[in-house]
Amino acid sequence: MAISWKMPKWFFQLGSPRWFYDISSKLLPIFAVAAALLLLVGVVWGLAFAPQDYQQGNSFRIIYIHVPAAILAQSCYMLMAVAGAINLIWKMKVADMVAKSCAPLGASIAVLALATGAIWGKPTWGTWWVWDARLTAMLILLFLYVGVYSLHHAIENEVNAGKAGAVLSLVGLVNIPIIKYSVEWWNTLHQSSTFKVTERPAMPAEMWIPLLIMVVGFYCFFAVSLMLRTRAEILEREKRSGWVRDLVEAD
């Protein structure tokens, strides 16, 4: 006997651009306030109150930007691939717009992670860049973002552009575990992860609590920026529909 299982109704509501536009206008202020508060607390705590590292001195404070950026760059990629897959399977417009919005956002965050890593590398390792496994995998992540972004913008037809972008982001997903385990598989210069699910962080609480705050703050920022980009994309694609026209009239 075949078991038929249907996706719940809210899942398909997510596919409605108008529904997404309405719900995101309610969520935006919440995430914006949360992001601003968390980032402010995290930056002040990390820069002025956390103790310095006994080996790296104060340059270790770069961790409060570098680690959240690197984590976010990878999460954003996974979201882009999942949204791309949803678009391929259920042809959901909003998923395609989310995937398209992830590409430039993720690329800029990947640049931030690489740049802060290079600046941190100079006083710590004595060099801006080495062809180390972790760094190279992260650079490939940036190239994948650039590739997905280019596909979305190079193909005139939105549906085909979305499909091509989704396929590339799904293929590139293989890079994510490589980034994660690169510090364990290869003998690298890069230090291993600060946060692990199974163990306590190998640094005192006054160092890792602000880091955790920054990570959560970066995620809230990501939610805000992604919603803003997706909303701009929705308006552009739905400009002929009645509800967008009403919005313009009301403006």
Partner: protein, 66 residues
Amino acid sequence: MYFDSFADFIAMGGHGLYVWLCYGIAACVLSFNILSPLLKKRHFFNEQTRRLRRERRMAEQEQGTP
């Protein structure tokens, strides 16, 4: 406060340039990602309002000249 003075805080034990450069780049990247979609939205509304006005004017002109 971990530092003794404000000058110490800026100097970051000799690593000031690296630390502040990182935080500066982060501020630029984050604000770019918030401002760019907001500007895009503003631009969209301005453009659509102009288009709507133009369409309405053309409709009126058509009605005025039988």
